[in-house]
Point group: C2
Chain length 121, copies 2
DNA sequence: AGATCGGATCGAAGAACTTCGATGCGTTGT
DNA sequence: ACAACGCATCGAAGTTCTTCGATCCGATCT
């Protein structure tokens, strides 16, 4: 490590321009909005808990009746949050007889994590 | 792959209990709230773009004056979003003379991705 | 068929968020 | 010392989100 690059690294010491230029493309607004939509679904403690409880069940699925009690919220509220997680592509819903079973979409969380590293790596 | 486990997999065919038991602990409410706080910071398209633009700059840092224009929002609004990202531990702020430089906290996004896989893996 | 149960949908009330213009504070330049 | 600049903070207005009780729809049981 020599001090060769020191002449251009600190840019302007006093006045003039303040920042360094871009070295690569930033995420375009559409991609950013997509990413934000997914993260917004995880931006509520209730929904994180729902996701975790579903994943903790045998077979990776659980019905609403098993989710309402540990969450401690009303049944309509739990259904509302589950719908948001389904719309975000993190859960799937399957009606079997009288009960509705929710399960984690395989790989959906890993895909999100990968996008995370890519967006700011 | 034999059909050995089929006897206990479908649980109750008609009435009775609906769901399978838990096979492991779900995330406790405090941990879920922590995780949700981080994701909520990423749950806005403006903040995802800010993070991306900062990371795209040389040296991984940028000042507010370089962020306001590409975002297309007012300077107070950009400052507000930057503060949220700092509070979430995703950005750091450093005042150098007249300008405030924001940079991505190294590893913060990877850590989030790891928690993601852990919480529902 | 009628009753019952699981769960989604429908407003509504309250809280939280996003955005802005105006203003204040610290640094830089004249 | 004074003016100019970068940026944070302060209300305020409008929107969105969270939560609930009430209600409705399907499936199951008697």
């Amino acid at each position: 490590m020599t001090t060769t690059a020191l002449e251009l690294a600190p840019a302007a010491p006093a006045s003039g321009t303040c920042c360094a230029p871009l070295v690569r493309e930033a995420a375009d607004p559409a991609a950013a909005a997509d990413l934000a939509r997914s993260f917004k679904a995880l931006g509520d403690p209730t929904r994180v808990r729902l996701l975790s409880i579903v994943a903790a069940h045998d077979g990776g699925e659980a019905c609403v009746c098993e989710l309402t009690e540990p969450i401690g919220l009303s049944q309509p509220t739990v259904s509302h949050h589950l719908k948001i997680l389904v719309d975000a592509g993190l859960l799937t819903r399957e009606q079997r007889g009288k009960w509705a079973y929710y399960s984690v979409v395989p790989g959906s969380l890993d895909r999100l994590g990968a996008l995370l590293s890519e967006a700011a790596g």
